[in-house]
């Protein structure tokens, strides 16, 4: 919402400077977004050319002596064809910034003649594109005066960012009312229109809306005969231009002026082009109208229109029709001041894609009580600016305004804000804003003025008092302390989310945040793409479906990095994936991928690779280690976790695994990826990844005590023994480890695989798995016989469960 300072002062009596007005506007909730104080025009003064001689060195230049009203005449070199003795124009002295040519003037010498300033063209002052000559003012321009003041260019422009709840401040009058209520000046009472009427308005209005009369709760119409629709006067044009509107003709300019001055959108019909009476009705499906923006709109019964015997003449409250618009030939004009249903205007305007100043106001709520006074004021302006004779207004359908009543306990201000405002002050503030207050004591009855549809309850009244009183008067007061040390505030899932991130980052991975939506094709590759999780209005085609997995986003991100020359990347994300559209369908997943040779030890080649094993392409085991790190960090009891071969379809079937807790709970998957999936994602390179479902992990068991179990340390030396078993190639090493460790649960405290060997010597389809078993004597040092017995048990157990035989 834009307006000029002088326009505001039409309605507000105040001596407050611009800066103070702007501060107050912001303080009362009318946030000033931009101010143009027009200081740029200050340097320009009206000056008269006393003499204009030809430049001695140049044919097209003249040397002027200019009277600026201050001191001796000033010498100026000028190239304008219209520069002549006696011309009065706009002068800029050295030091002045000339906006149209983006130059700050200095004293110059042009072809040997000194020039101490400049006579400006309209273009140089950013007033128009006219650069044919310098400004040539009529005789009424006084030498020495500010040019901006003379030309009406010094009126500061204020733009406020209006919140959608304040239709009353879509008018400059309403803004003045708010400022006056805040104590900044006095609201000037509007002058009662005074004109005589003659005859009836011959065109009648019929509201044909059936049961939906609320769509047009009032319609006022008046004919003015014999108008002269020339251009509007300069003062009106200047104001309209200042706020960004284009003057068209007096009648149209008056409607625009009223829209901003009073927040009262109007429409004018050229009466000669209206055939028969006006009917307000719903449009017929497919009905077309050529609107004032010269575009054709196809309407539906959702749109309310004004029609006559010719068809649709206007889209009610949104935009008039081209056919009956007013131009310089208009002689008789019909002025419409109507009321429209805010909701319907909003919907229609949105559906038709029309944004107008009328729609803006009607969808927020136009003051119903100003429908008729607005028509009166507009009629007066028409008569003043265009002449003519007004007929009697015709008012249809308006039932009057019944104010909302709010029971207002005056203590509510303190209850909600902590601010003590006296009852009298609160009531006075409300009255200044136009509220009616009746009753006395603790609770008063407040009636809401017709221009404040946003006020419904007592909290709204608190806001009114508060914003007029000053929010910054509220001193901060500490929130009551619970009186105790704060306890744990995070849920298990929140703790696991946090710890999973830190655990993965501690493994050298970078945390990414990728889009929650991916392309349908990618979603389908990873088990998603259901219609319920497909956006109706995606911002881009490849951001259409809620992701079923973190992996597609991470894999494509890795490829983007690779394309920039960073091929060894380890990235992860801990965030939501979407199984369905219910709250529980949103999973919490930790997922990560490694590409190239970005192992935990470090990416790329290193002189120490031979020692530390870097430089080899990442594989399923890197992913497995990452997944386990998440499980461990989250406190999952690892002794109960099983790893099964194979995973979902997007993994390599022979190089992936599924992590389970018991037969039902799937904790995650890890592995290398299926080549077809990688191809479909258009990614390449060595890639391995995992996803762990944080929300699938059971809550940790509640413990009665924080005490850890007693630590029993054996005084006897632990011993390590190596075994190599030859087994069928399909036997899982995990089974051998399990058989060895369960051979004697007490003595065997650790088992690990330290070598895998396959070779012709073992026979086709056979492999050797070498394990190291840690044996911890508990009661006494073990004898040779003890070891022999234990070794025998281990060998027997492995043979029994895996068919493995000790390698000879």
């Amino acid at each position: 919402m834009k307006f000029t300072l002088s326009w505001l002062k039409d309605h507000l009596e105040t001596d407050a400077p611009l800066e103070q007005i702007c501060e107050r506007l912001t303080a009362i909730g009318l946030e000033v977004e931009h101010v143009d104080d027009k200081a740029a025009y200050k340097p320009f003064v009206i000056a008269k050319v006393l003499t204009a001689e030809k430049h001695p060195q140049a044919d097209k230049l003249k040397v002027l002596m200019v009277d600026t009203g201050m001191g001796a005449p000033i010498q100026v070199v000028c190239g304008a064809p219209n520069a002549r003795t006696g011309l009065v124009g706009a002068f800029a002295a050295p030091g002045a910034y000339v906006p149209g040519i983006d130059v700050t003037l200095s004293v110059g010498t042009i072809r040997g003649v000194e020039s101490r300033g400049m006579m400006c063209s309209e273009k140089e002052l950013d007033m128009s594109d006219n650069h044919d000559g310098i400004i040539d003012l009529p005789d009424d321009a006084q030498v020495g005066q500010s040019f901006a003041a003379y030309a009406g260019l010094d009126d500061p422009i204020i733009e406020i960012n209006l919140t959608p709840n304040r239709p009353d401040c879509t008018s400059i009058y309403g803004i003045a009312r708010d400022l006056a209520a805040s104590g900044l000046g006095t609201l000037k009472a509007p002058k009662a229109p005074a004109f005589t009427v003659s005859g009836e308005t011959p065109v009648k209005v019929k509201l044909d809306l059936g049961e939906d009369a609320h769509l047009c709760p009032g319609f006022a119409l008046r004919l003015v005969r014999g108008v002269n629709n020339g251009p509007s006067p300069r003062w009106m044009q200047q104001r309209l231009i200042a706020i960004g509107l284009r003057p068209i003709n007096a009648l149209v300019d008056i409607t625009n002026y009223m829209t901003f001055d009073q927040g009262r959108p109007l429409h004018v019909f050229d009466a000669a082009k209206v055939k028969g009476d006006l009917v307000v009705r719903r449009a017929v499906e497919g009905e077309k109208v050529l609107a004032l923006d010269t575009r054709e709109y196809t309407l539906s019964p959702a749109n309310v229109v004004i029609s006559d015997d010719n068809g649709i003449e206007s889209i009610g409250g949104i935009m008039g029709g081209e056919h009956s618009g007013c131009d310089e030939n208009t002689v008789d004009v019909l002025i419409e001041s109507a009321l429209w249903d805010p909701m319907n205007i909003a919907k229609s305007g949105r559906a038709l894609g029309i944004i107008t100043d009328a729609r803006y106001r009607f969808e927020r709520g136009v003051d119903p009580e100003y429908m008729v006074p607005g028509l009166e004021r507009a009629t007066e302006l028409v008569l003043d600016l265009c002449g003519g004779t007004a007929a009697k207004a015709d008012v249809t359908g308006y039932a009057g305004y019944t104010p909302k009543q709010v029971e207002f306990p005056v203590s509510e201000v303190q209850r909600l804000t902590g601010l003590t405002v006296g009852a009298e002050e609160s009531i006075a503030t409300l009255k200044n804003l136009g509220f009616g207050v009746s009753g006395s004591g603790e609770t008063v009855s407040v009636s809401v003025p017709s221009w404040r549809p946003d006020v419904d309850g007592k909290a709204d009244l608190v806001e009114e008092v508060l914003r007029m009183h000053g929010v910054d008067k509220i001193a901060p007061a500490p929130l009551e302390s619970h009186g105790a040390v704060s306890g744990k505030i995070l849920t298990t899932l929140q703790i696991r989310t946090r710890v999973a991130k830190r655990a993965l980052a501690s493994r050298g991975m970078l945390e990414a945040v990728t889009w929650s939506f991916i392309s349908k094709a990618q979603a389908e590759l990873f088990g998603g793409g259901k219609p319920a999780l497909s956006l109706a209005n995606p911002i881009a085609a490849d951001m259409s479906d809620m992701r079923p997995s973190l992996l597609p986003g991470l894999l494509t991100a890795a490829q983007r990095n690779a394309d920039k020359g960073f091929g060894d990347v380890a990235i992860f994300e801990v965030s939501g994936t979407y199984e369905n559209d219910t709250p529980s369908g949103q999973r919490r997943v930790a997922g990560g991928i490694r590409r190239g040779n970005a192992s935990m030890a470090g990416a790329g080649r290193s002189w120490s690779n031979s020692l530390k094993g870097g430089g080899k392409p990442v594989d399923v085991f890197d992913a497995k280690a990452d997944a386990i790190a998440v499980l461990e960090a989250c406190g999952v009891p690892m002794g109960n976790v099983q790893f099964e071969a194979g995973g979902p379809s997007w993994y390599h079937p022979g190089r992936s695994g599924t992590i389970k807790l018991g037969p039902k709970i799937v904790l995650g998957h890890f592995g290398e990826f299926h080549p077809k999936v990688l191809e479909a994602l258009d990614v390449s390179g060595a890639l391995a990844g995992f996803e762990v479902y944080l929300d699938a992990m059971p809550e940790p068991k509640k413990k009665a005590t924080r005490t850890k179990p007693a630590l029993e340390l054996s005084p006897f030396q632990a011993v390590k023994r190596d075994f190599a078993f030859v087994v069928d190639k399909s036997v899982e090493a995990g089974a051998i480890l399990k058989a060895a460790s369960t051979a004697d649960r007490k003595l065997v405290t650790g088992v690990n695989v330290f070598d895998i060997f396959e070779g012709a010597s073992l026979g086709e389809g056979r492999k050797s798995v070498a394990i190291e078993v840690t044996i911890q004597p508990v009661e006494r040092t073990l004898t040779d016989e003890d070891f022999e017995a234990l070794t025998g048990k281990i060998i027997a157990n492995v043979a029994k469960t895996t068919g493995g035989v000790l390698r000879g």
């Binding site: 909730g29 804000t417 909290a459 500490p478 991130k501 219609p531 956006l535 983007r560 030890a601």
Partner: protein
């Protein structure tokens, strides 16, 4: 020269000549071993007269002492030399680079870090953390928050919609974290003090708008919480979060459907040095968050009587305050997963924000 002197000279020469530990051991065995030259002499003591023993015996023992000391000293010297030689042999080029530590390489995304910072601050003020789904119903995202159907305020949110279901109802991607306010009130009786960090979505994209972004919401509901408390909470938060001694904040009346009265909050700052914003000084104002007293209709939607319960809510853009604090210029980079950006703007995994150790290093 006596026989003993000759032996001493011979042995001392042999000791001096021994070049390594095995040869000195050989000398020792040759002199003091079972059949060593000195041992042999000592064996003769038993056959001597007492007089002989006093003179010749003392001389033999003196020889043994001298040779033993010389052997010990030579042995120690040789051991030192051997160690010195070994150390020289084992010397490596310590200028060779080592692999960086994974904890030094890894990074936490600024959003996660900021959530931890905010959690640390609000935990100290007695707030818990609540979360809610990204895929929301129209009811929780709008209606329960006092956005009437068709109200222009709904248009302030460029909403992502899903396809309508068989009843014609369409879910939305939540446009703010505020739906969790009502979900929390439904699930929990006051007093309520929660913060709600999370993802939010609007159909908008430029340098400061992204179709996906993050917000943090705060909600306090009890029987007393008022605007004065709200001001205190926000001032304490901003001061602690931006790690400055003082902040000056300006509360402007504004409008949000779910609060009444509503405010936008500006923070005083210095923006004179280009993109770097300094808080606690300067003459500029920067809008940083929106807040207000919970609207009675929202309390009712949460099943609470607005004449008994009252409270306030506030919300701000997580990405935005991250950008303000840490200086990232473009929001879109947050979701690019560019390793250079993550490495530059991310945080090391062990940089854990706490109040006792400071929010940022």
């Amino acid at each position: 020269m006596s026989e003993l002197d000759t032996l001493e000279r011979t042995l001392m020469d042999a000791i001096a000549a021994a070049a390594d530990e095995p040869s000195i051991e050989a000398v020792r065995v040759g002199a003091l071993g079972k059949k060593g030259s000195i041992s042999d002499l000592l064996k003769t003591l038993g056959t001597m007269t007492p007089e002989e023993r006093q003179t010749r015996g003392a001389a033999i023992n003196a020889l043994k002492t001298v040779v033993t000391e010389a052997l010990t000293a030579r042995k120690a010297a040789l051991k030192d030399a051997a160690i010195t030689e070994r150390l020289a042999r084992e010397t490596v080029d310590i200028s060779l680079p080592v692999r960086s530590s994974p904890t030094e390489r890894g990074r936490i995304h600024p959003i996660s870090q900021i959530v931890d910072e905010i959690t640390a601050i609000f935990a100290d003020m007695g707030f818990a953390m609540a979360e809610g789904p990204d895929v929301e119903t129209d009811y929780y995202n709008f209606t329960a928050l006092n956005f009437p159907e068709g109200h222009p305020a709904r248009e302030m949110h460029d909403t992502f919609f899903f396809q309508p279901d068989e009843n014609g109802e369409r879910k939305v991607l939540r446009t703010h974290t505020s739906p969790v306010q009502v979900r929390t009130m439904e699930a929990q009786k006051p007093p309520i003090r929660i913060i709600i960090p999370g993802k939010t979505y609007r159909q908008d994209s430029d340098a400061t708008h992204s179709p996906m972004f993050h917000q943090v919401e705060g909600l306090v509901v009890d029987t007393k919480a008022n605007v004065a408390n709200l001001r205190w909470v926000l001032e304490e938060f901003c001061k602690t979060f931006f790690e400055v001694d003082n902040v000056t904040m300006r509360f402007r009346p504004s409008f949000f459907p779910f609060t009444e009265p509503s405010f936008e909050v500006d923070i005083q700052c210095d923006r004179s040095s280009g993109p770097i914003v300094k808080f606690g000084e300067g003459t500029d104002w920067m809008e940083i968050l929106g807040c207000g007293m919970v609207h009675p209709n929202v309390l009712r939607a949460g099943g609470l009587d607005p004449d008994i319960y009252q409270g306030f809510a506030f919300g701000m853009g997580l990405d935005r305050i991250a950008m303000l604090k840490y200086g990232m210029p473009d929001l879109r980079n947050f979701f690019d997963a560019d390793v250079r950006w993550m490495t530059h703007y991310g945080f090391r995994p062990l940089d854990m924000p706490t109040l006792f150790g400071g929010l940022s290093a």
